[in-house]
Symmetry: C2
């Protein structure tokens, strides 16, 4: 999927919502445990209930790995079930030397047909490039994350006054384009998003940290939106675990609908 196709979907759905499929056996409604593959059944019903409101789904691979081979199967089945025109993100935060990154890319791009994968930048160019060499696939590189530990290294200033996350943004633009490279940019502080947008005017940002983690959607849009929207804002728990009863999918839809309505307004206001 290229940038304009993604933008077209954003315009059609009036939404830049990404739904995080952080699916946890201990949190899904009890009645689903009777199914042969409860994780897939949960995802399937969430997808059915929200696919006209979300432009992306983002399974966090840790939740599936924690279940071993069976979890891996649930993940593959989920990927097969997501409609092809919806952008899919393997939130895997991989990154290793070249031949190893190539294998991770095969696992997520070829075997499971994800559109994109989140990648950690620490090991540099040859850990990221193998993912970028897959036609039509995307890297979403960690730049400025929304967790407490982002202060430890991402904010360290180099001799020329630039924080590490800025080096990551600048250097990585030599490796890929706005058509195969996005960035993870945390939503906890609006002013940082504005700073990142100045450095990277054209690329999409994947923004976690709205909702449970406390960021404001309006601030994200105000400081981060560009002429092609340029934002995918993720919500996981706030949508998928809004109810743990038999009505979970309907309640998830209601929550997604609220975010989509807010996004529709923000697109009108800031996407120009």
């Amino acid at each position: 999927m290229d940038k304009l196709t993604l933008f077209k979907q954003i315009q059609e759905k009036k939404s830049f919502l990404c739904i995080g499929l952080d699916t946890d056996l201990h949190k899904i409604p009890k009645h689903l445990l009777e199914y042969e593959d409860p994780i897939f059944e949960f995802n399937k019903q969430i997808i059915d209930a929200t696919k006209d409101l979300a432009v992306a789904y983002k399974p966090n691979t840790a939740f599936y790995e924690a279940l071993g081979a069976k979890g891996w199967q649930s993940l593959a089945r989920t990927l097969d079930y997501i409609p092809n025109d919806i952008f899919t993100i393997a939130d895997a935060k991989r990154g290793d030397i070249g031949n190893t990154s190539r294998l991770y890319a095969q696992a997520f791009f070829d075997r499971m047909n994800f559109d994109s994968i989140t990648v950690a930048p620490y090991m540099g160019v040859d850990s990221v490039s193998p993912f970028l060499s897959f036609e039509g696939k995307w890297v979403i590189l960690l730049a400025l994350t929304s967790n407490e530990g982002s202060q430890d290294f991402q904010m360290i200033q180099s001799g020329d006054g630039k924080p590490l996350f800025q080096h990551v943004l600048e250097k990585s633009q030599e490796w890929g384009s706005a058509n195969n490279l996005m960035y993870v940019v945390g939503a906890t502080r609006g002013e940082f998003i504005a700073e990142v947008r100045k450095i990277v005017p054209d690329h999409f940002f994947l923004v976690p940290g709205v909702g449970a983690q406390g960021g404001s959607l309006e601030e994200v849009a105000k400081y981060g939106m560009n002429a092609h929207c340029g934002l995918l804002v993720n919500s996981s728990r706030g949508i998928i675990y809004a109810s743990d009863g038999e009505d979970f999918a309907q309640v998830a839809r209601d929550e997604a609908r609220k975010l989509q309505a807010e996004m529709e307004e923000l697109l009108q206001k800031f996407c120009k």
Copy 2:
């Protein structure tokens, strides 16, 4: 496993060899493809042939993930097969916000009983600490890697003249001790290992990059060894793919034996 137990095994085997189980269906001997689980069968024969020479085994998780749920099963079977007194490393380079890192830790420490996992530092304290809270388990944190891309960010100097990898070494020592935290330190340049050893006198280093990647074992020992050895030196392809015939396990043993013999001399010379 604690540091002294690991050192005791190093003394008994006169070896600090870690064997990388980067097991690839396209590279293993053809006759193994008849088995129901060729990946496990290959690992089993390699382990049988080398377990008196190696103090650690390090499966690279990418090779298993590339095979989907089946690969994940081969990995779990391999872990069950490795004798309990040998240190096991999940070379997974994980790292995510707290609740996600906790799930990765469960996947590798509880479900598969690995002794340790490699972790990427970019997201800081709350991405690393969840792994450190598992009693008797280890984090092996990426510090200075041996690949070309290590130059991109790891060597960036902050205002006070310290490269990023030094910040990672110093900061992370607040999070764990020499009994649950090791570092990945590349072997491509001896003088860097000496520098890292000055900053971190007591911790173990996992050293990739000897053999196929070109580092010198003698230099690594000279600059990196401490009174408890403090080194696990990995070799993958140079051992496990030394032959692709029916004699692969015996030839792997011969290669491991050569490295062990060299290590025995280096322990006598530098471990004091």
